[in-house]
Amino acid sequence: MNFFFEVLVGGLLSGVMYSLVALGFVLIYKASGVFNFAQGAMVFFAALTYVGLLELGWPWWLSVPATLVVMVLVGLLTERFVLRPLVNQPQISLFMATIGLTFFIEGVAQLAWGANVRGLELGVQDEPIQWIMDSSGINLSKFDLMAAVVAAVLVTLLALFFSRTRIGRALRAVADDHQAALSVGIPLQYIWAIVWGVAGAVALVAGLLWGARNGVQYALTFVALKALPVLILGGFDSIPGAIVGGLIIGATEKLFEVYVGSRYLGGGTEGWFPYVLALLFLLVRPEGLFGEKIIRRI
C-alpha cells in the first residue's frame, strides 16, 4: 500500500511541475485566443538567461529581476511583431507562427548563451525528507514539495489577479469577446502586452524549477509537450483547470506506467498515455474539466 502512495505522491508532484508550464499556455490563450506553442522555448530561454547571468558573475537577486525584464521584453516583442500583424487570421496560422517563434527563440537562446549544459541550484536539495521517510517509509522530496508550494502560491496569485483586480477583469473581458471589450474602452494592445509579460514571468518560474530539476539544457523545450494533455484535461482557458489537470495527468501517468505499463505492456507508456487519457476524456467532455463550453451558432 505504501508503494502505491509513493507512486501517487510522486505522480502528483511531477504533475504540479507540468501545470506550471501549462499555466503559461492558459494565460495567453485566455487573453488572446492564441495557443502559444513557443511557451516551451520561453521556459528554456528564461532558465538559460538566468544561469547565463549567474555565470557572468551577477548575484542571484539581480539575475532574477533582470531575467524577468528580459522575459517580459520577449513577450512584448512577440505580441508586437508576431501577433499584431496576424490579428484576425485563423487560429491555425497563429499556432504555426508560434511554432516558427519556437525555432527563433531556441536559435537565439543557443546563440546568446551557448550550447553548454548547466546546473541550476535553488538552494533546496532534491532529497527525501527524512522524518517522513522514517515515520511512514514514503519518499517525499524537499524539492518537489517546494515546487508544489510555489505552484500553489502562483496559482492563487493569478486567480486573485484575474478575479479581483481591474486589469484582471479587463483580461477576462478581452478573452470573452475582443470587439465588445474594445467597445467598452478596454485598450486591447496594452492588455495583450500585459498578458504576454505575465506569461513570460510564469515561464521564468517554470524555467527555474525545471532547470533546477533537470539541468538547463535544450531538452527543457520538450516540457511543453507534457503540458498539452494537462491543458486538454483542464480546459485551455482555465487556471484552476491547469492545476487540477496537471495533478490528474501526473498521477495517472505514473500509476499506469508502474501498474499496467511495465507489467503487461513492456513499459515506456509515459509518452502516449497522458494523450490517450486526454483523448478519452475529451470524448466525454469536449471542453475539458473547467473549460468554457463552446456554443456554436450557424
Binding site: 531538452a219 500509476l255 513499459g267
Partner: protein, 437 residues
Amino acid sequence: MKAIKSALIGAALLAAASVASAQNEQYLPVLSYRVGPSAAGGSGYYGGAIDYWTLVNMGGGVNGVKLAWEECETEYNPSKGVECYERLKKKNGGATTVEPLSTGIAYGLFDRVAQDKIPMTTFGYGLASSADGRIYPWVFPLGTTYWDQMAAMIAYLGQKSGGLDKLKGKKIAFLYHDSAFGKEPIPVLDALSAKLGYEVIKIPVTPPGQTMESQFLQIRQAKPDYVIMWTYGVMSTVALKTAAKTGLPRDKLLGVWWAGSEEDVIPAGEASKGYVSASFTATGTDFPVMQDIKKKVYGAGKGNLEDPSRLGNVMYTRGVVYGIILVEALRVAQAKFGKGKVMTPDQLRWGLEHLNLTEARIKELGAGGLFPPIKTSCEDHEGSGMVKFQEWTGNGFKQVTGFMAGDREMVRKMVEETAGKYAAEKKITPRDCGKEG
C-alpha cells in the same frame, strides 16, 4: 519549376564554393550537430576532432598532405544527415570518410556508403553486428561496440562482486532509453544472464525522459543489486537526480559511456558524486597531445571550442581520439599506397582495416593511456572491445579501472550470427578475408 530553379542555384553556389579550395588535401566532410538537445555533446566532440586535425596540419599534415574539412549541420536528424552526406560527398575531390555520430543517421547511410564506396566509422555506437567486416566492408564500429561494452560492464560488475561467479542469483536492473540505442545491448545482456545466472529487470524510459519517478520507484520496489543506466541526454541527469531522490545508493549505478560526460553529471549536482560510468577514452589534459593542442592550437587562436575550458572533457577527448585514429589510418594507407599522396576512399578503407595502434605507438603519438590499443582486420572492424570505468568526484573524473574487456568471444559469436542473418536476407556474399591483402 521552383524546385528545379532552386536546385540549379544551389548547384551553382556549390560549384563556386568548391572551386575555392585546394586540390592536394584530404577532404573529410564533418556531419556535425551543434544545435538541439545533443548540441552540448556534439560541439565538444567535433571541437576535439577538428582541433587535432588543426594540430596535424600545423605540423605539416600527414606526410605533407593537409587535412581539409567542411561541416554540415544535421541537427541529429536522419533525413538532414542523409542530405548533408549527399551534398558533401562529391566536393573537393570526393569525401574520404564520414562519421555521423548518430545511430539514426548511421542507419540511413548504411546502404549509401556501400554503394558510394566511402568508409563510414561509427566510433563507439551504431550497429554492433557491423563489426563483422566480411559482411559490412564499408562500416567500422571502431573501438568498442555496444555489445562489447555491455559485456565489459558485466565483467566490471563481476569484479565488483568479487568474481563473475558471484553474479549468480543477483538482480540487475537495466534502465534504458526506449529507442534503437537503448535496445541494442539487450541480446548480450540476456545471453550473459543465461550464462552467468543473474536476473535481469528491463525498465524502459520514454525519451526524452524528463520525469522518471515511476521507473525509480519500480527499481526501489525490486531492490536490485545493480542498476545499469543506458541513457542519453537529459535522461541521464534526471536519472541521477531521481536515483538520489528515491534513495538508491549511488554505488549501485553503472552508466553507459553516453551517460557519463560532464554534460550529464554537472547539472545533477550532488546527486552524481561517486557515480561510475564507462568510457572508452581517459579524460583530462594531462596528455602530451592535449598539451600540444592547448599550446599550439589555442595559443594561435585557432581552437574550435568556444569555451576553451572544455578542453579535456569527456566528449572532447573522444573527438580527439577519433581524430588520432583517422590520421593514423591515413598514415597506414599512405605507407601502402604512396606516401604524401591524397588517399582515395577505398585506400582509406584499407587503412582503417589494417590499423595496429599498439600501446607503444599510442605513446609515440602523445596519447599514452588515452585510449586502448586498437587492432583492426578484415573480419574485425571493431579493433578493441575495451572500456575503462571512471567515477565522477564532483570536480572531475577519476579513473577507477584500466582498460578492460568482457566476454569478447561470446560477443564475437553473436556478431557473426547476426551479421550472417543480415547477409542471407540481403543476399550478400561475405568477403573471403584470406584472399584479400
